[in-house]
């Protein structure tokens, strides 16, 4: 207790810089005065009295030192002294300090930036209370591991589960909203009543949905997002109880959700109860309507236990409803894993890459320090001679290197701050949870730790080398240390740097090759000069299909009138790389399967006549759908070549019929078109439904027309820049009906690029890191070689005086550099062989051991290394023997 108090007081004194000695001086003075008086009273003459008093008091200097030692914490004092000394040393060689600090700032900055991303995306819990209990719940059907769920199944799952404390369903639903201003398309979710309570989110105003809101026939209600409430209602507190009109229906606002609330990274405007949706397809156990579910596990229940429970639930349902649920299983996944699982390997590869970068930076600085320490060996020999222990010298040197690392870390933090923003800003689509990335306390702690570690890492080897000196040798010698061991260490450092740079370069090279391979993949359509967007239509419950068709035809007509528009098609169902939708079918002439589960599935595209041209799809056989394939004509479809090969392997499919179970329609195949890469350029074709067919929009069955009445998608092909026509397009839509709204505009080029945005991000980052590594190791090689050349000027002069040719000198120096580089390349190749395997999952169209990449990178690296040696070698070649021998 007392010791603690003493320590705290001393620490306080240190922090408050209470270091003046006035108190001791005064007390000493007073003490001496009193003693002198006493001595005078005893009969001594004043001068002698004073002298005796001083003698009795003792050595003022020693006492002062004891006093100061007691007052402050000595080791901190020594540390401060070391830092001051170190700072002075660095100020005296600003060039060295600048290079070292910049190098470290790059290494630490890159690590901090990437760690802040890993921290925000992978490490931090999701922004909900007890988020580790949250799980994503998927339907599992043959070939689809994580699929949507039908509503009736969801209700049964919710009822039968014994491991989830709650479950909730949600489905994308956009709304037309006409407020005071112009018409607006709102994004929203239809949710089941437990949605917000499952997530643990409380409304800022009003309430969330109750079970009695969440059923057919209940009064229409809506929950607003905080952002929408702010934007359209100025955060008015009396919004609860008011009504807003969505898709022509007046809904009462019952609550407002915090504006910070996001779900799978999405900010939505409105939430409505899913149970009020009375669409017959939605209430058909066999038909998936793209609804998904989440759940919260009971406390203490693991995902595996829940999975076992839900497997049982699925088995029971399969027995009860064999027609719909025979092959329907349930896939559970923790919600976080569901959100970020895909980018985890990528981020870890990048984290490893920046780790290498930091190691290279450390090696570089260690090399610089080592070179510098040779110049300082006399200084340390003198210190040792004056009684400094080896520990003390190491501490001094480590303090200096930690000082460097600290400066580098501070600068690196700045770099990371800008770098993270720049990268995330440039590629926002690439990362889930990107909005949650920030420099929080954990990141700062990481930076501090990394800086300290780096300081020790690059400082220790030179410090050990420097402190272990042979005093006499150095003091005797006139400053020219003969330290072959140090040159060897430098060589080892350079080789290590080259090896690590090689690994990084090969990693980046493989990513570049993957991306190049991806760009070469034919998407099956022509993305350039094509643009797609969504169009909301002012529909109400009573809007008839004739009205919808007329509206769409008018839209087509207006679009075709716009100069620069070559083709237009309204579309729905699937859209390549944007939306997936499939339908079960069977082939006429073959026996009708007993259940939907036994039928084949194919992706379907609702299209118009202009679709083939607008998308740039090849027609291989027969004809494409025309405007004559309308509501009055028999249904005609085009199938893709995958469909044709899979189901009509040895015959001409044109003229054949298939039966679409859920449409309850017989369709005649009128043509075969090229296959479209529905699942992205890099998708694995084995796991997904690949057969496709195009279905005429206007021949959509009557019962499904209400589903498309409020919004459709559009594709346009243009002569020139597709974004340039959007102005006239918007004006034309405005003219047709100001309540129609265009949103979600994307050029097809963007769609294709976004389909591998994460891969692109990692290529860009790996490329940057590899280039930095290359630059750093070049600087390292250059530094070491020119340093060695400088040290050997005398020797080179001697050699030349003895008849060596300039080319011999060149060979000598280059040979030295080449040896280090080659050893490094050999180690690096071996390392890369082992390490690139870890990123095999991120590669496309190239193996992890791609010989071309390995060879090319190795050759480039050797050339660059030799180039870095060339400059000092040329300097060595120009050595004048006379000058060199007189040098010193």
């Amino acid at each position: 207790m007392r010791a603690l108090r003493r320590f705290l007081t001393r620490l306080g004194n240190f922090v408050m810089r209470r270091r003046d000695d006035e108190r001791l001086l005064r007390e000493t003075e007073e003490h001496l005065a009193l003693q002198t008086d006493e001595n005078i009273r005893a009969g001594l003459p004043p001068r002698e009295a004073r002298r005796q008093a001083k003698l009795k008091f003792g050595g003022v200097a020693t006492i002062g030192e004891d006093y100061r030692a007691e007052r402050n914490l000595q080791f901190i004092d020594a540390f401060v002294q070391d830092i001051r000394y170190g700072a002075r040393m660095l100020r005296r060689s600003p060039g060295f300090a600048a290079i070292a600090i910049l190098t470290l700032a790059l290494g630490i900055g890159a690590n901090t930036a990437l760690f802040s991303v890993v921290n925000g995306v992978l490490l931090n819990p999701l922004p909900y209370p007890q988020s580790s209990q949250l799980a994503a719940i998927y339907g599992k059907t043959p070939g689809v591991y994580r699929g949507p769920i039908t509503y009736l199944n969801f209700l049964d799952w919710q009822r039968d589960t014994r491991t989830f404390s709650s479950m909730a369903m949600y489905r994308n639903q956009d709304y037309n909203f006409i407020g005071k201003g112009e018409a607006e398309r709102l994004s929203g979710y239809m949710i089941s009543a437990g949605f917000f309570s499952t997530l643990g989110v409380q409304p800022v105003l009003g309430r969330t949905f109750r079970a009695d809101d969440d059923r057919v026939g209940a009064a229409p209600v809506v929950i607003l997002s905080g952002g929408f409430w702010e934007r359209r209602f100025g955060s008015s507190p009396d919004i609860v109880g008011k009504s807003i009109t969505l898709n022509g229906v007046s809904c009462t606002v019952v609550g407002v959700i915090p504006s910070s609330f996001t779900f799978y990274g999405q900010l939505r405007d409105v939430y409505t109860p899913i149970g009020q949706w009375n669409d017959p397809s939605f209430r058909d156990r066999r038909i998936d309507m793209s609804a998904h579910a989440i759940g919260r596990l009971e406390p203490g229940i693991t995902l595996a236990q829940a999975q076992a429970d839900m497997d049982g639930v699925a088995r029971n349902l399969a027995a009860s409803y064999p027609e719909a649920d025979k092959d329907v299983g349930i896939t559970l996944s923790s919600m976080k894993e569901d959100m970020v699982g895909k980018v985890q390997p990528l981020l870890l590869v990048l984290l490893a890459a920046v780790g290498f970068l930091l190691l290279i930076a450390c090696t570089n600085v260690a090399n610089l320090l080592l070179a510098r320490s040779m110049g300082r060996s006399r200084e340390f020999a003198v210190r040792a001679a004056l009684g400094a222990s080896q520990m003390r010298v190491i501490r001094q040197l480590l303090t200096e290197s930690i000082l460097l690392a600290g400066c580098g870390g501070a600068l690196g933090l700045l770099l990371a701050f800008w770098g993270t923003k720049a990268v995330l800003g440039a590629l926002p689509a690439a990362l889930p949870r990107a909005g949650e990335v920030s420099l929080d306390s954990r990141v700062l702690l990481f930076t501090l730790g990394v800086s300290l570690l780096a300081g020790i890492l690059f400082g220790l080897a030179p410090a050990l080398k420097t402190s272990r000196v042979n005093l006499q040798e150095i003091l005797k010698e006139s400053g020219r240390g003969s330290s072959g061991a140090r040159h060897r260490l430098q060589g080892v450092f350079v080789a290590a740097e080259v090896a690590m740079a090689l690994v990084l370069l090969i990693g980046a090279g493989l990513m570049v090759r993957s991306l190049a391979a991806l760009w070469r993949v034919d998407p099956g359509f022509n993305p350039s000069h094509a643009i797609t967007f969504d169009l909301s239509l002012p529909a109400a419950a009573q809007t008839g299909s004739a009205e919808t068709r007329a509206r769409l035809r008018l839209f087509d007509e207006k679009m075709r009138d716009i100069p620069g528009v070559e083709a237009v098609s309204v579309t729905l169902g699937s859209r390549p790389m944007i939306h997936d939708s499939s339908l079960p079918f069977w082939i006429e002439g073959q026996p009708q399967p007993a259940t939907i589960q036994d039928m084949h599935q194919a992706m379907f595209y609702l299209v118009e006549a202009g679709f083939q041209k607008a998308m740039g799809i090849a027609l291989e056989r027969g004809r494409f759908i025309t405007s004559q394939d309308n509501e009055n004509a028999p249904v005609a479809i085009d199938i893709d070549d995958v469909f044709a090969r899979a189901y009509f392997p040895r015959e001409n499919p044109v003229g054949k019929h298939i039966h679409l179970a859920l449409f309850n329609v017989d369709a005649e195949i009128v043509g075969v078109v090229g296959h479209v890469k529905q699942w992205g350029l890099d998708a694995d074709p084995k796991s997904a439904i690949e057969a496709q067919f195009d279905y005429p929009f206007m021949q959509l069955p009557e019962k499904l027309m209400p589903l498309v009445a409020d919004a459709v998608a559009v594709v346009l092909r243009t002569k020139g820049d597709p974004t340039a026509v959007m102005g006239p397009v918007r004006r034309a839509v405005e003219e047709i009906d100001p309540r129609e709204v265009i949103y979600a505009v994307q050029t097809m080029d963007e769609v294709v690029a976004n389909s591998f945005a994460a891969r692109r991000l990692s290529m860009v980052l790996l490329g940057i890191f590899a280039m930095l590594a290359l630059a750093l190791s070049c600087v390292g090689i250059y530094g070491v070689i020119s340093y060695l050349v400088g040290r050997r000027t005398h020797e080179i002069g001697l050699r030349m005086a003895l008849g060596a040719q300039r080319s011999d000198v060149m060979r000598l120096v280059l040979g030295h550099g080449a040896k280090m580089a080659l050893i490094g390349v050999a180690i690096g190749l071996a390392g890369a062989l082992g390490l690139t395997r870890l990123m095999a999952g991120e590669l496309f169209g190239v193996t992890a051991h791609d010989p071309l990449t390995f060879l090319a990178v190795a050759v480039v690296l050797i050339c660059v290394a030799l180039a870095a040696c060339y400059i000092p070698a040329r300097r060595a070649m120009r050595v004048d023997p006379m000058v060199a021998l007189r040098y010193e």
Binding site: E27, H31, L34, Q35, D37, G58, I63, E70, R71
Partner: protein, 115 residues
């Protein structure tokens, strides 16, 4: 060398506490004089070593100090025992007496007693 001062410092600290306990608030010279009077030559030289000990005791909270006027009317720093210091003195006195008693008994032992 260090160990020697440690022993001295410990003893000195106890002496300081006892002095302040008996005589009340006192400046450094007064404490030194008193200890010198009682202990003979322990503090005959190097009276100044008292001051680091005083500082230590103060930083540990056993004594407190403030400026005041000395007998010749100059500013001097006066030290007084705190409540903490009194408790410490009691504890250390007990401990010291115990130690002294044990050591004393050992010294009283004569060779024949152990046979």
């Amino acid at each position: 060398m260090k160990q020697k001062t440690d022993v001295q410092q410990g003893t000195l600290a106890l002496m300081v506490l006892k002095t302040l306990d008996v005589l009340g608030p006192l400046h450094g010279y007064g404490i030194a004089r008193r200890i010198e009077q009682i202990s003979g030559d322990l503090l005959a030289v190097n009276q100044g070593t008292l001051y680091p000990v005083l500082l230590k005791l103060e930083q540990e909270g056993s004594i407190a100090s403030e400026w005041g006027a000395s007998e010749n009317n100059r500013r001097a720093r006066f030290y007084r025992l705190t409540r903490d210091g009194r408790k410490r003195l009691e504890a250390e006195t007990r401990g010291w007496e115990q130690t002294a008693a044990i050591i004393g008994r050992f010294f009283e032992v004569k060779p024949e007693d152990l046979r």
